[in-house]
């Protein structure tokens, strides 16, 4: 039986490769830390203080990994969306569909820029505030990493916007509309 669950993730450029694999590495590390925790507890391994730090560390990886994964999702169009309404627009009129898509894309970018600004602000403010419980980890690092991934997300969404705008029939549609309007205007 062949179950098609492949997403065909893009690895076109060196930065695609880095973001994808850094996020995947974080993901695998979460699994390994949890397994390590079970092993240390279950077999009473003589590690000083047990493996108590695996728990907070796995949590922090989950936090930063999320934004890395979200960047990969932006690159590959894997964000969960509800396209039922915009599909209807597209069916009725490709032009309106395109305009709606473009508005959504621009709003997405505006939002992500605001989110990135919030992350940057927090990174600077909390640069030397420790994470509760693990004094060695600073909140600023976590916010900093989050911000870096959000910046990557903005970059990918800008690429998506460009490919949306340069889609042939869109400019075609606009041109047709433009000349049409022009004629009417005359």
């Amino acid at each position: 039986m062949d179950i098609d669950q492949s997403l065909g993730l893009k690895k076109d450029t060196w930065y695609d490769w880095i973001v994808l694999n850094v996020a995947t590495f974080i993901f695998v590390l979460m699994l390994l830390l949890t397994i390590a925790q079970i092993i240390v507890r279950g077999f009473d391994l003589p590690i000083s203080g047990g493996a108590w730090w695996t728990e907070p560390l796995a949590r922090y990886l989950l936090i930063v990994g999320t934004y890395g994964g979200a960047a990969v999702a932006s690159r590959n169009g894997e964000h969960i969306k509800m396209t039922i309404v915009s599909d209807q627009f597209e069916k009725r009129s490709p032009l309106i569909g395109m305009i709606v898509d473009t508005i959504a894309q621009v709003l997405t970018i505006v939002f992500l820029i605001m989110l990135g600004y919030a992350g940057l602000r927090a990174a600077l403010q909390n640069w030397d505030t420790p994470m509760i419980g693990v004094a060695a980890v600073q909140q600023g690092w976590i916010y900093g990493t989050i911000t870096a991934f959000i910046v990557m997300m903005v970059f990918y969404e800008l690429i998506n916007l460009r490919s949306l705008l340069t889609t042939n029939d869109f400019s075609q549609q606009l041109m047709n509309k433009g000349t049409h309007a022009n004629k009417e205007g005359e």
Binding site: I3, A23, L31, A58, I63, A73, M82, T108, R121, I142
Partner: protein
């Protein structure tokens, strides 16, 4: 009146952004910003936003999401899904309308391993549908049984929606898992009886009985897969590990098995990790922004106003639950289950407390009601999957489901009105 106005702006803004086709996470976040910019809301606060980016995800229990999601992917990749189906055919194939009962039985067995309805439909759905069609069943019956039984997966543990509910409601995931067992089996039972009646009515005959030897052989084939639910539920109950850890152990087991049987290679595994990573983190990205949405709701006093409205109407927990059921069924039709749980649970928990409803009972009723949404137009994800894995058109798929709402509704009402169905097991084996 105040509640209606604020609620309209709050929910309306979100729905408009959804409709534009923005990513769900971005739509939720943008709705928060719109509210902050509006004269009704609290002032625009970047600190609040960054706060949720970190704190919204700062939970060990959330790790269960990546583990159980990975497990589902690996089961499909290593053909464990097919083995489960073949085993179920050997057992249930003999009764009247046998293959239809196999369809349900396979979903019950698979539910002990998978946590998402879509995983059931995408994994088992193709095999189940083709097997039923080969034996002469019409498209609608084949699709209806396949779609309705896919809902069993997220009710019987493990379950991704239950994990999310547990995290957001701060309830024990172990207890919630146990609470899902009886309702899940009840759903399977009611569905089985209903299917039997449909099959009789349509005049389909018996499947062929297979010998004990075949059953034994299929059992041995499926044994590696069948051990997974034993691990998970047994491991949690016997105290070897917590629900989150059980997910991690099951993933490692599936990987080891895949390499042993040769269906996994390093390259395939890396790809599975990469894709599982993207799927997981796009869900968690929604969670972090849904937490912001919940916080803004709190600043607008929505939970307090909503609680006042409901408690002003009734203080009877049973009546309140009967108000929630159609509400969730409605929401479930136009929002994804994960998004709904993430947005609604933080808002509803204070109300549940005020009304004196058991949060474990409430969680199971909520998830069961929301699940009807996955087989209901316009957004039911299982419908799309079924359209993909079968030769039926989306329209046929949608019409096929209508008849099968009957057993679903019966089960929802029983579970909603009789709390013991869900809370008996956790209360007696857990608390």
């Amino acid at each position: 009146m105040e509640l209606v106005l604020i609620g309209l702006i709050f929910l309306g803004g979100l729905l408009v952004l959804y409709a534009l086709g923005m990513p769900v996470a971005v739509a939720i976040g943008s709705a928060c910003i719109l509210i902050m910019l509006s004269p009704f809301g609290p002032p625009l606060n970047y600190g609040l936003m960054s706060n949720q980016l970190m704190h919204g995800l700062n939970s060990f229990t959330l790790l269960a999401v990546p583990f159980y999601l990975m497990l589902g992917r690996l089961m499909n990749r290593t053909d464990m899904t097919t083995e489960v189906f073949d085993f179920a055919s050997a057992i249930f194939g003999r009764v009247r309308g046998g293959i239809a009962q196999v369809n349900i039985g396979a979903s019950v067995i698979f539910s002990g391993m998978s946590g998402l309805a879509v995983a059931d439909a995408a994994g088992l759905g193709r095999v189940e549908y083709n097997a039923m069609r080969d034996q002469g069943y019409d498209k609608k019956t084949a699709i209806g049984v396949t779609g309705a039984s896919s809902i069993i997966g997220p009710i019987i543990p493990p379950s991704v929606p239950i994990i999310l509910y547990g995290v957001l409601a701060e309830e024990s995931i172990g207890a919630l898992f146990l609470a899902g067992i009886v309702p899940g089996l009840l759903l399977a039972g009611v569905l089985s009886i209903f299917t039997y009646l449909v099959v009789r009515w349509k005049g389909y005959g018996k499947g062929e009985a297979v010998g004990l030897r075949t059953i034994g052989r299929e059992f041995v084939n499926a044994l590696p897969a069948l051990l997974i639910p034993v691990f998970i539920v047994g491991g949690i109950l016997s105290g070897m590990f917590t629900a989150t850890e059980a997910g991690a152990v099951a993933v490692v087991y599936a990987i080891a098995l895949g390499f042993y049987q040769g269906s996994l290679t390093g390259e395939i595994l890396l790809e599975e990790f990469q894709e599982g990573m993207v799927e997981t983190f796009s869900i968690l990205f929604i969670i972090s922004l849904a937490m912001l949405y919940g916080l803004v709701a709190l600043q607008l006093r929505i939970p307090i106003l909503l609680a006042d409205a409901i408690t002003g109407f009734t203080t009877d927990p049973t009546i309140a639950i009967l108000i929630f059921v159609p509400l969730f069924m409605l929401i479930g039709t136009f929002m994804s289950i994960t998004a709904t749980i993430m947005i609604m649970v933080p808002i509803l928990m204070p109300i549940i407390g005020t009304l004196g409803i058991d949060p474990i009972h409430f969680g199971i009723v909520m998830i069961l009601s929301l699940m009807t949404g996955v087989v209901t137009p316009p957004l039911g994800s299982v419908l799309f999957v079924l359209e993909k894995v079968t030769d039926a058109s989306l329209e046929t798929v949608m019409r096929a489901m209508v008849l099968f709402y009957i057993p679903l509704l019966i089960v929802i009402l029983i579970v909603a009105l009789v709390p013991e169905v869900s809370v008996y097991v956790p209360n007696n084996y857990f608390f």
